[in-house]
Symmetry: C2
Subunit: 153 residues, 2 copies
């Protein structure tokens, strides 16, 4: 799959043992790291779609640390070589990945497999409660060529 | 409870809604923040005790982001005003907290309530694979005045 310009994907190493598991999510010596703004966790119940939004300044670093998530990206940037492109990822404990999402790229996610999905995000910027760098459109906005429905087959 | 010298505890705001929840875990503008080394997740199966260890340089920032965890600390530092003290915390979705753990303070955890516990740690230092800043003693070491058993009553 060709990645949207600026998007980075890093396969993570999930190390299971008889006590549980351990997974490094983001290290400051990885090329994907720019700077640390904050870390937060967002949980998505089964069947819920958290989409779409984008940031003007912030880069996101998504890791699904419980369950599975479908993460979709859409590139509306006029100056981008991948303008109009959609990327879809299925990440989580079955496919541990870090996804770095550039500013001005729409993104959203839903849980998969009928269970809770937990996403750890480590954005480059602090969330500003008064003036959030967060711009939203509906999950089914017709300007974005993507459907969240599962395609049976 | 008197805290071990250097330990910090911050109650976190877990915001549930009909889609799931959101919880800020560590922000770079909080007084608890020093610097970002990396972020990792460690999972603990029911009945497993992950203890004891300490670091010589690293500060840990623990948040239990799924399930519940009993986190215990023990202060063996000769130069500490709280030398010999034990702190116990029950953190997780029922009690969202950030616990900042100083170097040279023993720490460990176990899951509670018979379910998986996921701990997000955001230490100040990178994990060094060749020379880990990690020193271990057995979970039941007699030099530490703490028992991991549940006290019925």
């Amino acid at each position: 799959m060709q990645l949207i310009h600026g998007v980075q994907v890093k396969k993570l190493r999930l190390i299971p043992d008889d006590r549980g598991f351990l997974m490094e999510c983001l290290r400051s010596d990885w090329p994907e790291f720019t700077k640390f703004g904050q870390a937060y966790v967002t949980a998505c119940y089964p069947g819920v779609i958290k989409a779409w939004h984008y940031h003007k300044v912030q880069w996101d670093h998504f890791v699904c640390i419980y369950g599975m998530a479908k993460v979709a990206l859409y590139d509306p940037r006029e100056d981008s070589p991948t303008r109009g492109m959609v990327n879809v990822f299925h990440i989580g404990l079955l496919n541990p990945c870090l996804i770095k999402i550039p500013p001005r790229v729409y993104h959203g996610f839903t849980s998969e497999g009928g269970q809770l999905a937990l996403i750890l995000n480590i954005p480059t910027e602090l969330y500003n409660y008064e003036e959030p760098d967060e711009y939203r459109v509906p999950y089914n906005d017709p300007s974005i060529p993507f459907s969240w429905e599962v395609k049976h087959g």
